[in-house]
């Protein structure tokens, strides 16, 4: 098997598995229980949270552990609960969990250029006094385009100052979904200038079903799940101890090998790209070559039906995808590819290739050749 869809799922790393194991059996106690054995589990949980927070330059108390990035994104919007008639700005290429949650509010979409990079001028124009919430994913989940979030934060800072000067006390929050970025981009909430940041274990070789939302001290959140008051009352429900411990372990590992991995993936991607250049149909590499996650290699073969290529390649146990898994499963063309201005032939011919831990240079050569063979098969049919 050659897996080329790490943007949709990553296998749990051996280290994370090992770290999680005790909490799924011997240390199964509810962290809220009164006996010492349970208190020890509570301590382990808090330590894991603290470790995870430190990786992004935050403290354990700044994190709310959730069931994943989608829930964290939903929770981030709860910052608007106390704001009167807020307007929301979101990037048009953002994930469905942002776009669909934003629908509850008057929303404007911030445009991107052909590489998926934010149009800062458009953003500035749309950043009016009514805007209370801005959400911009740190790295896009289909293109891997990394946004200049610090620049966005600067603009927001200026707007906040202007509001102060004008005696306007309405808040303005910056949220970013860093699910895809956490693996390969060094993240510091202070440097990014975000008030809210979403993290996911499932994209960094941690378990599925675990995520976290960082929230700055200035942000007042409202819980979606109420109950026993866990997570400082922001997310009730018995803590997923094993999940968080695995998440923290996996994220720490990712950070440790970040520099090496970036270079490694860049090299692999180069090998794959040169293979794909041999195709009868010239590949159109998507995204921003300067600002792209190193493991992303989105590509279009205009005029082909990428779905057919996927079904041909799955027989060779080569797994890749078209758009984001959730969009593709609805049979709708990707809103991301539309947003960057691809025509329908280019969208139909688009593959999302994303590399990961198990990939080797040989894999790249084999996969590249198999993709080219699949393209030949498709062309021969016509």
């Amino acid at each position: 098997m050659i897996f080329l869809d790490y943007a949709s799922a990553t296998p749990v790393s051996e280290a994370a598995k090992e770290a999680m194991a005790p909490y799924e059996s011997a240390q199964f106690f509810n962290p809220s229980a009164p006996y010492l054995a349970a208190k020890n589990v509570r301590d382990d949980y808090e330590r894991a949270k603290s470790d995870l927070a430190h990786l992004i330059g935050a403290k354990g108390d700044d994190l709310v552990v959730t069931s994943g990035a989608t829930e964290a994104n939903n929770l981030a919007f709860s910052a608007l609960d106390l704001v009167e008639s807020p307007t929301v700005l979101v990037l048009e290429t953002d994930h469905a969990s942002i776009l669909n949650t934003a629908k509850k509010y008057p929303t404007e979409l911030i445009r991107v250029d052909r590489t998926g990079l934010i149009d800062l001028e458009d953003f500035q124009n749309k950043l009016t006094r009514n805007v209370a919430f801005v959400s911009i994913a740190l790295a896009n989940n289909e293109l891997g385009t990394i946004q200049p979030l610090a620049e966005v934060a600067q603009i927001i800072k200026r707007e906040r100052m202007a509001r102060l000067v004008a005696g306007d006390a309405r808040p303005l929050y910056l949220h970013s979904d860093a699910s895809q970025a956490l693996n390969l981009v060094p993240i510091s909430v202070a440097r990014l200038g975000v008030d809210l940041l979403t993290l996911s274990a499932a994209k960094v070789y941690g378990p599925k079903g675990v995520g976290a939302l960082y929230h700055g001290h200035n942000v007042k959140l409202a819980p979606i799940a109420t109950g026993g008051g866990q997570e400082s009352g922001l997310r009730s429900g018995t803590e997923n101890v094993a999940g968080l411990v695995g998440f923290a372990k996996a994220a720490a590992e990712a950070k440790k090998h970040q520099t090496y991995n970036r270079k490694h993936y860049e090299k692999l991607r180069q090998v794959l790209k040169s293979e794909l250049e041999q195709s009868e149909i010239a590949p159109l590499f998507l995204g921003n070559p300067k600002h792209q996650l190193a493991n992303f290699c989105p590509v279009s073969f205009p005029g082909l039906d990428a779905e057919r290529l996927i079904y041909l390649l799955e027989d060779d146990e080569i797994y890749l995808s078209t758009g984001a898994a959730c969009a593709a499963s609805k049979g709708e063309p990707s809103h991301v590819l539309k947003a960057i201005g691809l025509n329908s032939r280019e969208i139909a011919g688009s593959l999302r290739i994303s590399l990961g831990a198990e990939n080797t240079e040989d894999d790249m050569r084999i996969a590249g050749q198999k993709i080219i063979t699949a393209i030949k098969t498709e062309l021969a049919r016509k």
Binding site: E307, R308, Y311, L312, D315, S329, K330, G331, T377, R381
Partner: protein, 415 residues
């Protein structure tokens, strides 16, 4: 090379149909028909997964694959019709409507416009037409062991247990003349086995049951989204006494036993309902006269294949050829076509039997009142079916389908 557009649902039957057509040497184009579905929280209608399954099979076969979007038409012709009928207190059959209006009309017509010589589906049924005659001459199994007929005919499947002609009796002669049912000559277990041998991974996929757009929630819950619940009396037909309360006559079906919380003892059956008065009549008596009948009045009767049966002369049986019959547009869009007729009686061999006082032709048939139900001998006189022994009365809106041997002669909708 002839071009066949095959309707592919992602299931084993239509997938194997595509394979068999390809093996036979046709230029095969797979088509997924996207029908109306409700994209609501809590609703699971797996069309996207089915589409992917269908496309996957098409890609493996190396055939073209298209998606025909019939969502709007399906909503109008099938869903709205069904709701309208339920609103009148009837129990319509959406599958029959889907075949008449969507699969063997819209799909057929669109396919032909796009260059198809023939269409095919994975239905368990057989046809006789020029193409099948040609296949039979070639000795192809695709001919489905169809007995020779002089004209385009719809025939029951070889697998009596799976036969789907009950749902197909209203499809047009034109469509039948250009349709292939590649697995109609096979038994279901053989279909599964062959599909597995051909490498179709969905060979053992769970079969879809029920009407897709209704989903897992069931018809009653579906209807509740369109018709408000309204309390009404439950009356015991035998005693005339009101014995309980129901939540809306629309939600109950004649013959239904469940869902009436009327305390213990023998079960009650719904034997009658008055949609205007919102009243349900029930009985404990399984022999209640309301439940049984010797005669069934039909409307929207369609007749097919009477020539194919070997009846001497259709003009003798019907003064006008049925498919050209003039008559007021009926509710379902079909032409009303039985009214006046000659005075001859014929048996199946076309022999005139006797003069009759009855002004209408008397046609002996076998009738199926439900999908997969037994075949009951009866005579069709005009738009009435007469049975020798009483039959359990089907709910108005259901179909009665006529057969002569393997041949489906048509059918009508129970009044």
């Amino acid at each position: 090379m002839k071009t066949v557009y095959v309707g592919m649902s992602g299931g084993v039957d239509s997938s194997l149909s595509a394979v068999l057509l390809k093996d036979q040497g046709y230029h095969v184009v797979g088509v997924y028909m996207k029908n109306w579905s409700r994209d609501l929280p809590g609703m699971k209608c797996p069309w996207a997964a089915d589409l992917a399954d269908a496309k996957r099979v098409a890609v493996r076969l190396g055939i073209d694959f298209k998606v025909f979007d019939f969502e709007t038409e399906y909503k109008q012709k099938v869903v709205d019709y069904m709701l309208e009928e339920f609103g009148k207190g009837h129990t319509p059959n959406p599958d029959i409507m889907c075949n008449q209006e969507i699969k063997f009309k819209l799909f057929y017509e669109t396919a032909r416009e796009q260059g198809a010589d023939l269409i095919a589906t994975g239905h368990y049924a057989r046809v006789w037409n020029d193409e099948v005659a040609r296949l039979k001459e070639l000795g192809s199994p695709l001919a489905g062991a169809a007995p020779e007929q002089p004209a385009p005919s719809l025939l029951r499947a070889v697998d009596e247990n799976k036969d789907q002609t009950y749902f197909l009796y209203r499809i047009s002669e034109d469509a039948i003349a250009h349709t292939l049912f590649p697995i109609g000559g096979m038994l279901k277990p053989d279909v599964k086995k062959l599909a597995s041998e051909k490498g179709l991974k969905n060979a053992y996929k769970k079969e879809s049951m029920g009407v897709c757009f209704v989903g897992e929630v069931g018809m009653e819950d579906f209807l509740k989204e369109y018709f408000p619940e309204k309390a009404g009396p439950v009356v015991d037909l035998d005693s005339g006494k009101e014995i309980g309360t129901h939540n809306g006559a629309i939600f109950y079906c004649l013959g239904q036993r469940h869902g009436l919380d009327l305390g213990g003892g023998l079960p009650y059956y719904v034997v009658k309902k008055d949609i205007v008065k919102n009243t349900i009549y029930v009985s404990r008596n399984l022999n209640s006269a309301e439940l049984w009948t010797n005669e069934l009045a039909l409307e929207d009767v369609v007749m097919r294949n009477y020539r194919a049966r070997g009846l001497a002369n259709d003009k003798e049986i019907f003064p006008q050829k049925i498919t050209n019959a003039r008559g007021p547009e009926s509710r379902t869009g079909a032409k009303r076509n039985l009214g006046e007729g000659p005075t001859e009686r014929c048996d199946f061999e076309g022999r005139k039997i006797s003069r009759s006082q009855d002004p209408l032709p008397i046609i002996p048939v076998y009738v199926r009142l439900r999908h997969r139900a037994e075949l009951i001998p009866a005579t069709l006189v005009g738009n009435k079916l007469r049975f020798e022994k009483p039959v359990k009365r089907p709910a108005p809106g259901q179909s009665a389908v006529f057969y002569d041997g393997d041949v489906c002669l048509g059918g009508g909708i129970v009044v």
